[in-house]
């Protein structure tokens, strides 16, 4: 694949996007996007994470030329989406949230038509379709009508359709919503593989925390039409006040002593205890554990177990969006 138009410009750039929708008579317009800004480097899987209605799909629709922002600017591969929609369309693949295959066409026919529409010759489209059917394990079902496909198969076909013309940017709008865990795991494996092999820039939206954690190299948490925080999944988690350390003492009567010991260790915060369990936060859990064990041992407290938990994206969401992800979703 060739390099982006100029090395300095990101593959995807959205600047201060605002998008409102009418909300029915009398009501104020719904502000789906409220100054959203993102920048995605070429060749990266970038995740937009947020609950339904956060503005993820609106962002995808604007960047993929489907809808227009009320204000703000958006560029794909350095091309302005509002001014040169046609040029953008030839370089992108869109896997919309809804199933996007024609139910009355076979998997193969869907792929060939999508390729031809993107300017592939019939022969080239057929060859590419065969390749993708094979890659997505749809070979056996290739000539069955898409309406007979299971949810997981249909979703794989949708992604394959989006890949027909080897787009340089792929939009995956909630690729695994509604899939069972097994189909989701399979889809994750495929997305991970194709991002590495095709060297595409992928913009992924999801409301699954594990999905963003698993697939995205960088992610932005979106809430109420704005990016609340952006970074790599581990950076975001590092920005929380460290890891959680759980210490279980063998004898609940020694918990008070243990707590006093822990509070004296440098870098340990927020020590709480209940029964035989003590909880504390530390900057780097793995580094803190030896110190904790040594101090407790020196004080003669017998330890049953020590566990270190990395903060989850849910914790990150809670911190930056001000509410629990589960509640927002």
């Amino acid at each position: 694949m060739s390099a982006p138009p100029s090395p300095s410009s990101p593959a995807l750039a959205a600047e201060d996007l605002v998008k409102t929708y009418p909300a029915g008579r009398g009501a104020d317009r719904v502000r789906a996007l409220d100054g959203l800004t993102i920048s995605v480097d070429a060749g990266m899987v970038f995740g937009l994470l947020g609950p339904n209605g956060a503005g993820k799909s609106s962002t995808v629709k604007i960047l993929s030329t489907l809808s227009r922002a009320d204000s703000g600017r958006a560029h794909v591969l350095g091309i302005d989406v509002a001014r040169h929609a046609d040029a953008v369309r030839a370089s992108i693949g869109l896997v919309a949230q809804k199933p996007s295959s024609d139910p009355m066409g076979s998997g193969r026919e869907n792929l060939v038509l999508a390729g031809q529409i993107q300017g592939l010759s019939r022969a080239a489209a057929r060859a590419r379709a065969a390749e993708l059917l094979d890659r997505f394990n749809l070979g056996d079902a290739a000539d069955r009508l898409a309406k007979t496909y299971s949810g997981g198969m249909a979703r794989k076909l949708d992604v394959a359709i989006g890949l027909m013309h080897r787009p340089r940017v792929l939009f995956l709008d909630e690729p695994t919503t509604g899939l069972d865990p097994e189909a989701r795991a399979e889809m994750w494996a495929e997305i991970g593989r194709l991002a590495a092999e095709e060297q595409m820039t992928v913009l992924l939206t999801t409301h699954y925390l594990e999905e963003a954690d698993h697939l995205a190299q960088r992610l932005a948490i979106v809430d109420r039409g704005r990016v609340v925080i952006e970074g790599t999944p581990s950076e975001l988690k590092d920005q929380l006040r460290g890891d959680a350390v759980h210490v279980e003492v063998s004898d609940a009567t020694s918990a008070g002593t243990a707590r006093a010991v822990l509070e004296r260790i440098a870098g340990i915060r927020e020590v709480t205890s209940s029964g035989a369990t003590l909880r504390a936060r530390v900057d780097r859990g793995a580094r803190a554990v030896p110190a904790v064990l040594a101090a407790l041992d020196a004080a003669g407290v017998e330890v049953a177990s020590v566990t270190v938990a990395r903060p989850s994206l849910d914790d990150v969401y809670l911190r930056y969006a001000g509410r629990s992800f589960e509640v927002a979703a």
Binding site: L94, Q97, K98, G105, A114
Partner: protein, 286 residues
Amino acid sequence: MSAPTTATLTPPGTPDGRTRVPQGVKVERLVLHSAYLTARSVRTLFRQPAYMAITLVQPIIWLLLFGNLFKSVVDIPGFTARSGNYLEFLTPGVVIMTALFSSGWAGTVYIEDMDRGVMDRLLASPVRRGAIVVGTLAYQAITTVVQTLIIFGIAYTAGARFPGGASGVAVTVAASVLISVIIASLSDAIALLVRQQEALIGISQFIVLPLQFLSSSIIDTRVSPAWVRHVARYNPVDWASTAAREALSSGTDWGVVLPRLGFLLALACVMAWLATRAFRTYQRSI
């Protein structure tokens, strides 16, 4: 057609080993994309044999049903079926009526595509909006030509004769195709504006039925109330029925036929353009 820009900027760095249809030629792209989408609709029809059978059998039933039901209308004073045979009067009328009724459903394909992600995918691809419209119109036109020829076959078998001959049949086919294009464009535009199957069908029925009955397609408007005659003069369904019937008669007055075909053609172009424009409204809503 409705694309806001004539972008000369080509996507940079087209990957190697990729056979590309020359995309600079917009007309060529429009034709190709229309053909792909038309082929998709025809293929879908062939995969629904029951629906296809109804599409083909329906006009036959109308022809034979109305033919018997209204057999004696020719006896009403003032009714001018030239040969005195109602079936011969009715045949072009049923042709136009069939085109009218089937094309009212054209927009349902859009609704299905919108309910799935197919429409969004097409709109985010290099397909021209015009091609998405032409795809449905060409499909309707093909269906209409087949239906028209079947109706002529049945009418001929039932004893109807058309002194206008081949040119009469050609005018009838042209008129029915133009009506199809006009109504299918309208149906497409409504689909893009209301985006809901029930609303589309309701509005479509509300428009199609009066167009049908305020025309000379099954009855000579000379026996209708005067206001119907006046309204019918502005009704494209009446233009089409009158032009087809005149062209099928002996001693065709081309002064009646040609202006009506001209109006139909002009209206068809306007309606197809409006349907293409309706994509803008649709895209504003998503």
